[in-house]
Assembly symmetry: D3
Homo-oligomer: 165 residues x 6
C-alpha cells in the first residue's frame, strides 16, 4: 500500500515472508550515546579504574538484549546470531558514554534491529546505574552506522563519518 513492507494491502501487520530470500553473510553496526553531567562521567571512570562492574553490566545487557530482539520488536524474525560485540567508550566531549554494537550471522534477513536493540539496552542499563546521581541523563542519537550483506548490499549512514572501527 504505502510501501511499508510490514503492512499488507489492507494495512494489517504481518511478519513478512523471507522464505524466498537468499542466505548471505550479514552484519550490522549501530551506535548510541548517553549524555550526562561531567561529574557523572567522572564517577563512571573512577568505578572502571577500581574494577567495578559498571561497564560490564551494560555490555552484557546489550549482548543479551540483541538475542531477545524478536521478542521485543513484534514483526522481527527470530534469528540465530553468530556474533555480538558491544563496545563502550567514555567520552569527555559528549560528556558521556558512546555505545556501539556489531551483530553478524548468515541468514535470509538482516541484523540491523539486533544491533540497534543491543546499543539501546546497553544505554538504558547505563541510565539505570547513573540515575540516582544524575537525573539530567539523555540517550541521544541512536542510529544504524552501517550494514553489510543482503540484496541491498553495503551501506553507511551519512552521520557515520566519525564512526570508530
Amino acid at each position: 500500500m504505502s510501501g511499508l513492507t510490514h503492512l499488507d494491502d489492507a494495512g494489517a501487520a504481518h511478519m513478512v515472508n523471507v522464505g524466498e530470500k537468499t542466505v548471505t553473510q550479514r552484519s550490522a553496526r549501530a551506535r548510541c550515546s548517553v549524555r550526562m553531567q561531567p561529574a557523572t562521567l567522572a564517577k563512571l571512570r573512577e568505578s572502571g579504574i577500581a574494577k567495578g562492574d559498571v561497564l560490564s553490566v551494560a555490555r552484557i545487557a546489550g549482548i543479551q538484549g540483541a538475542k531477545r530482539c524478536s521478542e521485543l520488536i513484534p514483526l522481527c524474525h527470530p534469528l540465530m546470531l553468530e556474533s555480538v560485540e558491544v563496545e563502550l567508550s567514555l567520552n569527555d566531549a559528549l560528556p558521556g558514554v558512546v555505545v556501539e554494537a556489531e551483530c553478524r550471522l548468515s541468514a535470509k534477513t538482516g541484523v540491523e534491529m539486533e544491533a540497534l536493540t543491543a546499543v539501546t539496552v546497553a544505554a538504558l542499563t547505563i541510565y539505570d546505574m547513573c540515575k540516582a546521581v544524575d537525573k539530567s541523563l539523555v540517550i541521544t542519537e541512536t542510529f544504524l552506522l552501517s550494514k553489510r550483506g543482503g540484496r541491498s548490499g553495503d551501506w553507511h549512514h551519512p552521520l557515520a563519518g566519525e564512526a570508530s572501527s
Copy 2:
C-alpha cells in the same frame, strides 16, 4: 564507593535492597522521538488514515516492553505495573514520531526504567517498520520527562517544558 548505588564497596554489581523502602504511589513519564524523512512521515500518516496497524504495533510493543523491563535491565527490580500508556504523535516539525509513555504502580521502587523501556521499544518498532523505505532514521533524545512519588518526590526534566499532557 563512587556514589553509584548499584555497586557495592568493591565495585561489584548487585540488585539493591529496597526492602526498607516505603510503598508509595509512583509514576514516571518518558519521551523519545524518531526523526525521519518527510516522505516517510507522509507514508505513516497515510497508513494511519487507511486504518493500518502501523502505530498500533508500536504502541503494543511499548506496553509489552515495559512489562519486561526487569528482564532486560540487569539490576532492575521486578515490578507489578498497574498502568501503562504509550502515546504516539506524528510531528511535522521533527519530522517524525514523538513517543511518550507513562507507567504507574504502588511499590517500594520507581518506574522510571519501565517508562524509558516502553518509549525505546516503541521507537525501535517504528524504526523496524520504516527502515525499508528510509535508512536515515535516527532515534533522538530519549529521556525521563517527570516522576512522582518515592522519597525524592516529584521531579520534571528541564527539557520537559514542551512536554504534552
Copy 3:
C-alpha cells in the same frame, strides 16, 4: 468509546489503570476440551496406565502458561499467582480430554485470563503429543466456568452446569 475498557477515547490500546481498585481475594476457573478419535483416547489412557508422562506434560505446561499470561496477552497486568491447579480427565463421551484450571491470588485485578491461558496451553500440549497419530483433533469450547472476588463478585457461566469439581 465503545465500552471496550482497553481502548481510550481515541481507540488506542492501553493497559488500564487498576491502581484505584481494591485488593481482594480472587479466583477463576476455566475449561476446555480436546476432541479426538476414540483410538487416540485409548492410546492416552494406555500411556497413563503405563506411568507415561503424557498428562503430566500437559499439566505442567498449563501451570507454566498461567505464569506467563501477561507476556502473551498484551494488555494483561503482571500478577503474582498464589495458586494454580490444572486438572485433566479422560472422557469417553467427548471422546477426548477435558481440561480445567483454577488460579487464585489476592490482587487488584482478576485471574480469568490466567485460568484461560492455563487450559489453552495444556490443550495445545495434548494436541502436540497426539497430532502424529490423529490429525482430526479439535480444541472445543474454551470458556470461563466461574470467577470469585473483585467488584463484580461471584459469577458462573451459563454453560457451567455440567462442570466437574
Copy 4:
C-alpha cells in the same frame, strides 16, 4: 510404546530427535473462532471503524505468540519462522471473530503448533478485551486447517471445506 511419538518406551517424555529429517519448505494454517453476543460484535465493529487498536492488538499478540511456541509447548522444537500472518474477520453468523493464521519456514519439522498457538493467543487477546462487556464469550473449534511439506505431504482438515483463503 503406544505410538505417541513424544514418549519413549518407558513412557518418559522427550523432545524427539529430528536430526535425520530433511529440510523442506513447510507451512501450516490454523483457525479458531470467538463466539460472542451480537452487541459485543457490534462494539468491535464500531471500534474498528473508528480506527481503534482492537483487532491490531489481537493480530500482533498472535504473531508474537507464534514466535514463542517452543517456550509454551514443552516438547516443541525451537524454530526460525520465516513468515507469520494472522487474519481476523468479523462474522455476523457466528456471531463473533474468526481467526486464521499461517506460518511458513524451511526446516526439519513442521509449523502446525506455531499456527495453532498464533490463533489461540489472538483469540485469548480478543477475549481479554471483550470480557468486561460480555462474560458469555466462548472460544470454539480451534483446529489445523491444512499443512504443506514434510514427509507426510499436503493435508487438509475435513472441517476445512468452508475455509477462507
Copy 5:
C-alpha cells in the same frame, strides 16, 4: 500423599496455594563451587587483575537467573525480589570459584529456590567461559546455606560451618 507438598492426593503436580500464608520478611543464602585446574584458576585471576569482565558476567547472570526462577522451576511461585547479591571468590584450596547468593523480600513464600538458581546460573556461566581451556570442570556441592523468615523460622545447613560472609 507421600508428604511431597507439590503433589495432590492423586499424585498430580500443582502450584501449592500460599494464599493463606503470612507475609513476612524472608531471605535465603545458597552456595556452590566450580572446581577447575589450578592453571584455569590462574587465568581467571589474571583476567580479573586486568579488569576483564569474567567475574562480572557470572555475577550478572546469577542476578538475572534469580529473577527468572519461577519460569525455570515449574512449581515455583512468581515473586518480587527486593534484593539479590551474588558473590564470587577465587579459592586456591578448591581450586576454583566459590559462588554465594543471597535473596531477600517480603512475601508469603520463601526465596530458597531463587538463591539456588542464582548460584547455579552463575556457576554455569563460569563453566561456559572456562570450558575452552579446561574440560575437567565440575560444579560441586550446590546447597542452601541458610534461610530466615516464614513459619519454619531461621535455619542453617549443617555443611554451612565453613561459610564465608
Copy 6:
C-alpha cells in the same frame, strides 16, 4: 589475553564469532546428582509408583531449560536444538536421584551448555519438590560426561567411567 575465548584483548566480554566454523552434527551429555535422606528417596519412589508427576515435572523442566540456555548464560549462542532427552534414575547408593541429559543438533557450535543447563534445572526442580521434607539436600557433581562433533572431536570426562547409557 588469558586464553579465555569469551574475552577480547582488553578483557571485555563478547559473544564469540562462530560464523567461520563448520556446521557439523554435534551432541553433548551431562550429569548431576541430587543427594538426599534415604527417607526422602523412599517418598520419591512411592510417588513414582503411584503414578505421581514428581519425576515428570523434573524431566520437563530440564527439557524446557535446555531450550532457554542462551537466555540464561549471557555469552551462549542461540541454537535450534534437534533433540533433548532427560533421564532420571533413583539411586539407593547415593542416596538420591541421578540426572542425565543429552542434546543434539547440526550447528556451528556445540551443545555442552544446553546439556548442563538441562540437568541443572531438572535437579533444582527435584530440590524444590523435596525441600519441604528434607532440608539437607545437596546437588553434587554437575559435569559434562561426553561430547561429539566439532573441531575438537569426541571427548569423555575422566569421571565418566561409571556413566550409564
